[in-house]
Symmetry: C2
């Protein structure tokens, strides 16, 4: 497979053990790392340079799996480039304060909080000034989803497999959630707005 | 504003009442329609032709608001162009059967079910054959979210404003949910995987 040779050349996969001049042996560890690199490139759309950074974060010995997951999550969560509305930034900070976390001084320090502030800025730019009212019910629903996500990946054996599961689960999960949310809209709209009346 | 003139010329806004040779009066109805067209173009990224189709669906007299919302939702939910895995299609059909809905014979009939089958196909293509196990907990969490979404838009007065709210709420909501899900991951991962151990 040419991609494996490419990943080897780029230093993203450790070299196998040579069993003959033109054959190398790769063990399970290699396969796990290959799956992870593929997930980062094919599903995450990361550049080779970004993959190298992610792998360096993962291979740091003196860090917990929780912190490694956080570092990878940042790498796969790129915020848009739009201007942030200062009021939307305040919305995010107020949300964090309601969660009992008071350390969100600069929302652009994390890609994830930056992404949230960017989305609320987009809402405000089209006159939806109270979109932040949805944050608390969103978090309530997303805790159920996040628990299922974390259980899905925690079953996996190795640290590389847990992280690969998080990359795939986070990014493909975004698309699945988009679709299932629309199905849930249809169900709830039938109950709340009803099928028979107009305006 | 040049965009208003453009929308008028394209027939997306009804003409105002002329109050002098070069001034027209626009009422609240016009403003609501303008907000809706802007949401479809600026937030939804729809082409002018697609906006025209959406408006035609909305202006159909003999249809319920619920059905109109469904038509607009389809217009703003474009599935990707990837191949569908027949096993992923079966996953979607089994999910519908579990919901007691047996009429999902062809998933490509609706953009939303097509989007779901495409996402599960992507998961299978990277070896995640059990991603569909997440559908039930996802729906559970998304029902809470969808209820908040529908309440958010149902407060609005006119049919155009409800639909505008659904377009903005659905699309900007997708981005907000992406970010809040990652925050929930961090919270849950701290509880389940813990902060101190490696592998």
């Amino acid at each position: 497979m040419p991609t494996i040779k490419y990943y080897l050349r780029e230093g993203l996969l450790p070299a196998g053990v040579l069993t003959s001049p033109n054959q190398a042996h790769y063990d399970d560890e290699h396969l796990r790392r290959l799956r992870l690199v593929r997930a980062l490139v094919d599903v995450g759309g990361l550049s080779i340079a970004a993959v190298r950074e992610v792998l360096a974060a993962i291979d740091t010995r003196d860090d917990s799996l929780h912190n490694k997951l956080g570092a990878v999550q940042e790498a796969i969560s790129q915020p848009g480039s739009g201007e942030l509305d200062p009021l939307a930034v305040k919305d995010v900070q107020a949300f964090f304060e309601r969660q009992g976390e008071r350390d969100c001084v600069d929302v652009t320090e994390s890609n994830v909080t930056h992404m949230l502030a960017a989305a609320l800025s987009a809402a405000r730019s089209v006159g939806h000034d109270h979109f932040h009212d949805l944050l608390d019910p969103y978090l309530e629903g997303l805790k159920i989803i996040a628990r299922a996500d974390v259980e899905y990946i925690a079953r996996r054996g190795s640290s590389d497999d847990v992280i690969e599961g998080m990359v795939v689960g986070t990014l493909i999960g975004d698309a699945v959630i988009k679709a299932v949310r629309r199905l849930a809209h249809a169900q709830v709209s039938r109950d709340v707005i009803g099928n028979g009346s107009d305006d």
